[in-house]
């Protein structure tokens, strides 16, 4: 790996001031787990890394609003999130997803902000956060803005962050009695990046599904909503709609063959796991402990 300089600003404002354009050679580093994989073979060769570890503690904290909404600072490690009682209470699907996200050594250093800013589709939390209608907080030289998580991803490894912008945190709105689940499928080893991740969230009106959110990761170029699945399920009883939802998902998702499986196989997986993730959500407790 090429040697690089390391800056350690004490505030978010200073960090933003240091980070230049994408081609300036000055790049931010949070946990660095993904960054190092790109720097070791020389795919990325920054002159200077701006470490975000020293910025204000608020960006490493998890805060709970009165209604059960969560703010999770971008520098919170995945392991802190996994062990957080507040996350487990208000968004148990996040805790479940984290337990099998890579391995504990990675979770100990990887951060929520880095996980999202990396823009790699083969990650677990983007589809989960999309299904939960979470928002990303972004700060830059021109101030702050918020966008839906689903609007963060543009194309493979490309996000809608402007150069000089940093993710500062994520808010997960109060889930009330909504039911959610996430299922992933790895094909090479248990702690491999997934070949497919599927998340779903909905309210139950008796046994009818309302306000459905479905999202896919890993198998597609970017994590994204599966609107045809949402339509297929909306206002239906789950038992009546599983097959149609699976077929809709397999038809909608644009998948490619790669080292984790052929496109044909991935479509079969999407069909099967769409039904399973909906059933898993039906069986899950709404809120509360996991």
């Amino acid at each position: 790996m090429k040697p690089f300089g390391l800056a350690e600003p004490a505030s978010l404002k200073d960090a933003i001031a240091m980070i230049g354009d994408a081609d300036s050679g000055v790049r931010p580093i949070a946990g660095g787990s993904a960054l190092m994989l790109m720097m070791k073979p020389g795919i990325l060769q920054p002159e200077t890394l701006v470490s975000l570890r020293g910025i204000e503690p608020r960006y490493s904290s998890i805060e709970t609003a009165g209604d059960g909404g969560l703010f999770i600072g971008a520098m919170t490690t995945l392991r802190r999130m996994e062990l957080s009682a507040d996350v487990a209470r208000h968004a148990p699907v996040v805790t479940q997803a984290l337990r099998r996200l890579s391995n504990v050594r990675v979770r100990n250093i990887a951060t929520l902000g880095g996980h999202l800013a990396h823009g790699d589709p083969h990650l677990d939390l983007p589809p989960v956060l999309i299904a939960l209608r979470a928002k990303v907080h972004i700060a830059g030289r021109d101030g702050e803005r918020q966008i839906d998580v689903e609007d963060l991803f543009r194309s493979y490894l490309e996000t809608s962050l402007d150069s000089g912008e940093l993710i500062t945190g994520v808010t997960v709105p109060a889930q009330g009695n909504r039911k959610s689940a996430y299922i992933k499928h790895t094909t090479r080893s248990a702690d491999d990046w997934p070949a497919l991740g599927l998340a779903v969230s909905f309210s139950l009106d008796g046994d009818v599904l309302r306000d459905v959110r479905a999202a896919i990761g890993a198998a597609t170029d970017i994590p994204q909503r599966l609107k045809s699945v949402e339509t297929a399920l909306e206002g239906k009883r789950a038992a009546d709609a599983l097959q149609g939802a699976g077929d809709a998902a397999a038809a909608e998702a644009q998948v490619h063959s790669d080292a984790r499986g052929s496109a044909a196989y991935k479509r079969e997986l999407i069909r099967v796991f769409t039904g399973r993730v909906i059933r898993k959500a039906m069986e899950s407790a709404a809120g509360g402990t996991i």
């Binding site: 790996m1 090429k2 040697p3 994989l37 073979p41 020389g42 099998r100 391995n103 499928h185 094909t187 090479r188 080893s189 248990a190 702690d191 491999d192 063959s257 080292a259 499986g261 052929s262 496109a263 044909a264 196989y265 079969e268 997986l269 099967v272 796991f273």
Partner: protein
């Protein structure tokens, strides 16, 4: 030899355990020498081609670069720069041609490793790309020729006839004929034939290969993470034309080896670079570079059996093609030494085996924990299971009807002695409750179970030498060149010396291999150390014990005296001084096989065997397979250290599990696409079977040291076919290609249901 023992047979903690877990163990990778330069290689980006030119100007112009070295520069210091244990076919740096992706072409030397790396990236190689061959069966008849001429090393008498052979990719063919297979097939009630294949994998030692060479005037010192210090000394001395006493090879504990670090790997290049730079040179590979250096043979195995109506196998025909990659390394030995067991641990009167070592344009293949045996067992135990199922015979029962028992002649012509093949199969069946009903699951989750058994002969003939010194204070030092690469050999050797000399373990030290200090050993490979070096240490310790008795007699002590050892030295030398030195060479008896028939009445000093049973669960909607339970039972003779034996068995089984279900080197368009742990997936903790047992049967290797024999590989033998057999038991599909991925199972299920999944 197996009488009552006090130290041997007890589970002493590993001697190096505390140093390792506290981060204080010595590894060559951590060594730094004063005034040292770092070497970084520029490697081939194609699989086969002629080198038109190498432009080193930009690299040379990089500030901080000391030297840029090409193959032509190597020839100036080592005029015949070819190495290899079986064939002298591998150039230290590519000359004229590259034969595999990742082959080293040039090297940059700099005091700063980052400068060396950057400059190496600035070397521009112009190639005339040539067609390449990657498949071992195609290589038999391909127009693509990897080496224009075969260059066997002089060390192996049975390879001499290959010298000068041209225009072939066949490095070695081995043939065995036992009985009359053609006649038995003609008369058979049933005939079965199947073809199986395995993929290219890598050892992934976590301490990558590393050598630091320091050549000064007429002496060379090489610090290296090697399993073969004596061979490295021999080979470097040969390249230099120097006596072996002028080459010193030192090693430490290894961060894993598994066969990757046998023979010469980084050492010859480091040596040449130090000669050019006149400074110590450190050549440390990355994990990525290990994929370009040595791998496990891909293989294709066509196997046919003739069976009578009682389920007795009357004949077997085996054709095995071994994909040795671009350089032979020890591949020809795999072809032959493992080839003769290709029919399995069965009592078969008529056997025909043809085993072929092929050159291809893949990275070289060599020894990897099992020396070809796991590839063979994959085929013959899958095949055996299919036969049993098709004939409606219980798979364990079918194996027992055919199992090779002690006193019977194996196909190679050697009578089996102390080979507990049936006992490990019985113990496995017992531990698996094979006779009891089994829950087969329901709905989309189906369960099945399978067994497999494999065996291996020790590689012969090989020699080990040892020195055992008793110090004047009664403590003891063992000098041997067996490398402790994690298998616990230091502890085993200390236990043997302790047993013979009645010196407590805490007073025994085992010296790290250093060819100026520790005597010759063939290599740490093929599960040979416990048997061969165990004997050498035992005999050296016995020699020291005799000398102590002689010393006691000399100073006038009566027989049966109980004078403490330190007192003997004081009485003899007037103070605590002097030393008693015991030494020994050990080589077992061996008869080389006849070239045309492959027959030998004494092919091996001992037989190793391992049996695996698994229970699996298969998701019929996704093909996903989970191992609920895995049991490995081996014949290891008598254990020197039972806990170390158990961990050797489980470690071997987990390694083979990775090769079975996930690990695979992928070559696309002549490029290796996944040379990293991110994309070449080895098993993690969640890939382990939910329940795992490792055990061994009561046995005695009568010609072994204290009844012991080797164990490092036996846990690998049965794993792959046991899993495939269990999958068929669960869902009725047969996988014949490794690795067994979920998609392969799913696709087979689709075919079974009469619907083909598209290939996109």
């Amino acid at each position: 030899m197996a009488g009552t023992t006090t130290t041997v047979g007890r589970s002493f903690p590993r001697m190096e355990g505390r140093a390792k877990v506290t981060g204080r163990a010595e590894y060559v990778y951590n060594l730094r020498l004063p005034n040292m330069l770092h070497a970084k290689a520029c490697r081939s980006t194609i699989s086969h081609g002629r080198i038109r030119s190498i432009d080193t100007s930009a690299a040379e112009a990089t500030p901080g670069v000391h030297h840029v070295v090409t193959g032509a520069d190597i020839c100036k210091v080592l005029p015949e720069p070819f190495y290899g244990p079986a064939f002298h076919d591998q150039p230290i740096l590519a000359l004229e041609k590259v034969r595999h992706y990742g082959e080293p072409i040039a090297v940059v030397l700099a005091a700063d490793p980052h400068v060396a790396e950057l400059a190496a990236q600035r070397i521009v190689v112009d190639y005339e790309e040539l067609p390449a061959v990657f498949d071992e069966v195609e290589a038999m008849t391909s127009d693509v020729i990897v080496h224009e001429e075969l260059k066997p090393a002089g060390t192996f008498a049975d390879l001499k006839h290959l010298a000068g052979k041209r225009d072939t990719n066949l490095a070695l063919d081995y043939h065995l004929r036992h009985g009359d297979a053609d006649k038995a097939f003609a008369e058979a009630d049933r005939v079965f034939e199947h073809t199986f294949s395995t993929q290219q994998t890598m050892h992934t030692p976590f301490e990558p290969m590393i050598a630091i060479a320091d050549v000064r005037n007429s002496a060379a010192t090489v610090y290296t993470s090697t399993q073969s210090p004596s061979f490295v000394r021999y080979e470097l001395a040969r390249l230099l034309g120097w006596p072996e006493s002028s080459v010193r090879v030192k090693t430490s504990h290894l961060g894993g080896g598994f066969g990757a670090k046998v023979y010469v790997k980084t050492e010859a290049l480091a040596l040449a670079l130090s000669m050019i730079a006149h400074r110590p040179v450190r050549l440390a590979l990355t994990m990525e570079e290990q994929f370009y250096t040595i791998t496990k043979h891909p293989s294709t195995f066509r196997i046919a059996s003739a069976v009578d109506k009682n389920g007795k196998v009357t004949a077997r025909k085996c054709e095995v093609w071994w994909n040795g990659g671009a350089y032979a390394d020890i591949g020809p030995r795999v072809t032959q030494k493992s080839g003769f067991t290709a029919a399995g641990p069965y009592n078969i009167d008529n056997v025909s085996i043809d085993s072929y070592a092929l050159y291809t344009n893949r990275p070289p293949a060599g020894a990897l924990r099992g020396f070809g045996i796991p590839q063979l067992v994959w085929a013959y135990e899958s095949h055996t299971d299919i036969i049993a199922r098709e004939m409606g015979i219980d798979p364990v029962d079918f194996r027992k009807r055919n199992i090779l028992r002690n006193g019977r002649m194996q196909a190679v012509g050697t009578v089996v002695k102390d080979g507990e093949f049936e006992a490990i199969l019985d113990e496995l069946a017992k531990r698996m409750d094979w006779d009891k009903p089994f829950d087969r699951g329901s709905g989309t989750v189906r369960r099945g179970r399978g067994v497999a058994i494999g065996f291996k002969a020790s590689i012969s003939p090989t020699t080990s030498s040892a020195i055992v010194a008793v110090n004047a204070d009664g403590s003891c030092i063992v000098y041997c060149s067996t490398v402790d690469m994690g298998q616990g050999s230091d502890t085993a050797m200390a236990q043997i010396a302790s047993e013979v000399l009645d010196i407590p373990m805490e007073k025994i030290r085992v010296v790290n291999p250093d060819t100026d200090v520790t005597p010759y050993d063939m290599s740490t490979l093929g599960s040979r150390s416990t048997f061969h070096m165990g004997h050498a240490v035992r005999l050296a310790a016995a020699d020291a014990r005799e000398k102590l008795l002689a010393l006691a007699k000399e100073i006038g002590l009566p027989e049966g005296h109980n004078t403490p050892v330190p007192e003997l030295f004081v009485r003899k030398f007037g103070m605590s001084a002097g030393a008693i030195i015991g030494s020994a060479n050990y080589i077992p008896d061996f008869t080389p096989p006849n070239y045309s028939t492959g027959q030998s009445p004494n092919a091996t000093p001992f037989w190793m065997s391992g049996a695996t049973g698994v229970e699996v669960e298969v998701d019929t909607e996704t093909g996903q397979m989970r191992i609920l339970r895995m049991i490995n039972v081996c014949d290891i003779g008598k254990a020197i250290n039972p806990v170390v034996v158990e961990t050797q068995i489980s470690g071997a089984a987990v390694m083979q599990l990775g090769f079975t279900v996930s690990e695979e080197m992928v070559i696309e368009n002549g490029q290796l696409t996944n040379p990293s742990l991110a994309d070449y997936r080895i098993p993690g903790i969640f890939d382990m079977p939910s329940v795992m047992e490792s055990g061994f049967v009561a046995a005695d290797q009568q010609n072994g040291p204290f009844g012991a024999k080797g164990v490092g590989e036996s846990g690998t033998f049965g794993v792959s076919p046991a899993i495939a057999n269990a999958i068929e038991d669960a869902v009725g599909v047969r996988i014949t290609k490794m690795p067994i991925k979920a998609e392969a199972i799913y696709r087979a299920l689709c075919v079974k249901q009469g619907r083909e999944l598209s290939d996109d």
